[in-house]
């Protein structure tokens, strides 16, 4: 091929690419609904980009001494972060469950991220995720308090967290146990077939933050092993190690794990009866 031919081909390809891109945008091919997770390649790309971006920028931050910051960090965390991220055994607020991407489970982040990265993310936020920047709202010293507390989440059981919170108290006063109560059926239960709808259940995994705590085969973004993996859940003998694995028990567990085992790190997520059946129907497909 002559040099001119090559250039012509290049121009044509570029034009075609641009047009195709414009068409995807114009015809609204990519679904922006928060109920739809990204496709697997897009999820992977965004996730990798986020990690690299944070790691690059946080690399050279000097870490001040972190001792003695946890208690103050806890107070600030409860004030600013709990709503979205939850805490050991404590669910996030209902609105946060509807976000895509879901606010991460920070106990897992604490095990996998450097404290510099945590500090950086809290300070500067993350574009297009809903993670706010706190630079203009919280003084730097306090951001370090928060970062120290988040790092400590890796070694805080639900019970220890509760004890610490009760001891430290909030600005308004001591911790009220009401905070850990289940948000019962905010959505009015609708009649549903008792067998449950596995397809809808798969979507609900995203909407109840299950994906932020469990590895689940075939579900994009479910790559955070906070609790046990759910692959093969249909065959597992016990739920949470205590309930024989039947449909009724699964619904009971999903709706109120804390009632089954008060110490468990799986929070009450306010799952409705119908959604619990759909989730259970999906889990029954995981053989």
């Amino acid at each position: 091929m002559s040099r001119r031919g090559a250039i012509r081909l290049l121009v044509v390809l570029t034009l075609a690419g641009t047009l195709a891109g414009a068409a995807v945008v114009y015809f609204g091919v990519y679904n922006v609904a928060a109920t739809e997770q990204h496709t697997a390649p897009v999820y992977w790309l965004l996730n990798a980009a986020l990690k690299r971006s944070v790691a690059q920028r946080a690399e050279n931050i000097d870490v001040p001494p972190l001792d003695g910051r946890i208690e103050n960090g806890l107070v600030l965390y409860r004030e600013h972060c709990l709503n979205c991220h939850g805490a050991p055994g404590v669910p996030p607020n209902a609105f946060a469950l509807g976000m895509t991407p879901l606010p991460a489970n920070l106990a897992h982040t604490a095990r996998t991220w450097d404290v510099r990265d945590i500090y950086w993310v809290v300070r500067y936020g993350i574009k297009m995720t809903g993670m706010p920047a706190w630079e203009f709202r919280v003084p730097d010293e306090q951001i370090w308090d928060i970062a120290a507390f988040v790092a400590a989440l890796a070694h805080l059981t639900p019970r220890e967290y509760e004890a610490l919170a009760a001891r430290v108290g909030t600005r308004e006063g001591p911790l009220k146990p009401a905070e850990t109560q289940a948000r019962e059926d905010a959505v009015t239960p609708t009649p549903h077939p008792a067998e449950g709808d596995a397809g809808r259940g798969k979507k609900a995994l995203q909407q109840y933050a299950c994906v932020s705590c469990h590895e689940i085969p075939g579900v994009v973004g479910a790559i955070h092993p906070v609790g046990p993996p759910l692959a093969g859940m249909a065959r597992r003998g016990f739920i949470g190690g205590v309930l024989p694995n039947t449909r009724a028990n699964m619904v009971r567990w999903l709706r109120d794990p804390k009632a089954v085992d008060p110490d468990t790190a799986m929070p009450n997520l306010g799952v409705t009866e119908r959604d619990a059946h759909d989730l259970a129907a999906f889990l029954e497909t995981l053989r």
Binding site: G237, G241, D261, D263
Partner: protein
């Protein structure tokens, strides 16, 4: 109890081979979390852990009663109630009933040293 007759050793050998070939068996790595992983693997088999849990690398460990233990090292919580550290894992193995009285996992009379060895092996399963 010695049980050479239970299963000819040749069944174990290919697993050992895979382990070594995968490079998991180098001397430094078998001693993690203050225990001997190779001994841990033998103990996981003897105590019958594999009858309730899936554990890659342990002969016959295809149980489905409790959660699988592959990838345990990356998990945040053990049994949903303890944070995941080698000490906590060894503690759970020794006395699950004391930590979670309602759990289906029985207290098998594992000694402290045995628990550390098992934990060492489980921490190789990333």
């Amino acid at each position: 109890m010695s049980r050479p007759f239970l299963r000819p050793r040749c069944c174990v050998a290919p697993f050992a081979l895979c382990l070594l070939a995968a490079g998991c068996g180098s001397a430094s790595e078998t001693h993690t979390a203050g225990g001997d992983a190779e001994r841990g693997r033998e103990l996981l088999w003897q105590f019958g852990c594999g009858t309730c849990h899936r554990i890659e690398g342990v002969v016959g460990a295809v149980g489905e009663v409790g959660p699988p233990l592959d990838g345990l090292a990356r998990r945040v919580y053990i049994a949903g109630v303890l944070t995941n550290t080698p000490e906590n894992l060894a503690r759970w193995i020794r006395m699950p009933q004391d930590i979670a009285p309602k759990t289906a996992m029985p207290d098998l009379g594992v000694t402290e040293e045995q628990a550390r060895d098992m934990a060492a092996f489980l921490y190789l399963r990333r």
